[in-house]
Symmetry: C5
Subunit: 156 residues, 5 copies
């Protein structure tokens, strides 16, 4: 049996411990796996964390970022997103990017629920892609799935 | 006869199964071809999907993305677009990018029609470029062609 | 005599056949040259077209893009511009970028004139740089030259 | 005992000598280390400074940038951020990015306090990551830590 | 004595001959140096000009760009800035970027003064970095230096 290694990169900036949630879900979805965690200060540090996790042998990585409310935070989100995409295309490895924006909800409870739901669903997505490859999610293609919110659904 | 391999990368975020449409069109336009499909959660995962399809031998790829309405979705679109362009220039392979923006139309029916038309027309474009090379579309250069909408036309 | 090869990359999205204009000008300015043309659907496909033209031996390339009016079109312009710059710096070859924005003029006739003027002037620029090198334009440095509009002029 | 080398890159544009602060903190946190400093004019010069520090053997780098108030300054911030992320992912080394925006506070005293607090806290973060690796900050993951401001705190 | 080679890249779009100013200052500041000049149409051509100057042996480069007033010009500025940063981090060479924005001043005389001051001061910065290395500017770190305007000063 091939044992898979997953990377989990999270931040101290985040207000929810999404890294812990991701680890629990991955462990449940793929018991024959190892998990490496890497914690950095903020989202702009996530690309190098993902890169170092892949360098160390991870087959795929999930990053768990939290973004503030200002326009500058959004530029940081853009820069980090570009970086995470480049880590992926230069290594041909998935880095599933969970991001929660502080202005997605007006109260902290809703924000917490978004973070938990998004971290859980994308952890499952990562395991499916790493374990079963590029057709693992095809059954759900075009179905309007959402993470952090209820599904939008298909309009086919 | 040289057999071509096409890659089709789509998402579970999309509300229309554009991957299926692309496969049908490619099969019709180029019966002597193989098609590989790769489904990912969202647009920011499309660049690595395209890269992995090219790694596996695809001569060209079509990606089928769906983008939400918020400014953050637009930044994600920008990051994904930059990534898709880099996959292309680092591999010298075409990755034709079909993107539908949820705010392109006010009702779902119109949105669905845009998605179908765009996916179909760009699938034909991809096959033409891969089968017949850089002059395959030259007859239509400057003609104001549109995908998802009716053509704007030439003003020559 | 060294024969130069120029690449001309244009789109079917464009409403003016700028590729044809560029070819005419290059042929007149540098009769001892070959020209390769590559036509793609839209601006986001231009970076890979330029890359493939350089791969095939072109000493320099001119790309002729047309951009729509929406904010999304502008993000596509930004992504394409970054891609075109990376093609250049990774190959050390010039890719002169002619872009016409649909909202540069209120009527089609003016837009057509902008497109023609810009394509012509930049075709001359490309030939000068490829034939005569980095000092070919130095006499005009700081002169406030414009393409598509009348020159702004020097304020020295 | 392995001796670590830290890089400190700062600017003449900055209105607070954050480089000096970073050096003091690093020296205190990791007495068995060497520190190299590199001063450049502004934020857009920081990526190459970080790259040169890593080329010269630094195990990790902290950059200390200051950004003006205009939209153009913000685009420069975005370009610099993308560059800093690419230095990291192409070298697999951390470059912790301290940035102070001139419009973060209305008076100079507050701005100075933000700069000092951010430089100090991120210097500690850098040392922890370089000395103790990717789990050094895990105890604080999801705790809503802030640099330059008081912590937002966890909402778990 | 080691002879240094400086690159000067400027544009025909610029309304002030900043390349000439840079050459004069560099010659005065570092008489034992050679200077190569490369003139291109506009800012988006500057990254490849800088790359070609470095390819030809320049130890450092100054680019002198001029940017129009529209939002599109600003996106071009952003793309060019990202490109200039990548030239630097992929070659580990400084490319000091002088940019003048047409909307920085209301009258041409002020604009001209900004351009001259910025070109002069950054030419001196380049020479210092190339001749004396990463500590050449450290004495001025955090001093709030400005180019094109009077210094903001330290708030330490």
């Amino acid at each position: 049996m091939i044992e898979r290694i997953y990377g989990v990169a999270d931040t101290t900036f985040s207000r929810v411990n999404m890294g812990e949630i991701a680890i629990k879900v991955i462990r449940k979805e793929d018991p024959d796996s190892q998990i490496s965690r890497y914690t950095v200060p903020g989202i702009k540090d996530l690309p190098v964390a993902a890169k170092k996790l892949i360098d160390s042998g991870c087959n795929g990585v999930i990053t768990l970022g939290w973004v503030g409310k200002t326009q500058l935070d959004k530029y940081s989100y853009l820069a980090a997103s570009i970086g995470l995409i480049f880590v992926q295309i230069s290594t041909s490895r998935h880095v599933i990017d969970v991001t929660v924006h502080e202005d997605e909800a007006e109260d902290e409870e809703t924000l917490r629920e978004i973070a938990i739901d998004r971290a859980k669903k994308h952890s499952v997505n990562l395991v499916k892609l790493i374990k079963d490859g590029g057709n693992a999610l095809t059954e759900m293609a075009g179905k309007g799935l959402r993470q952090g919110y209820s599904n939008a659904g298909s309009i086919d």
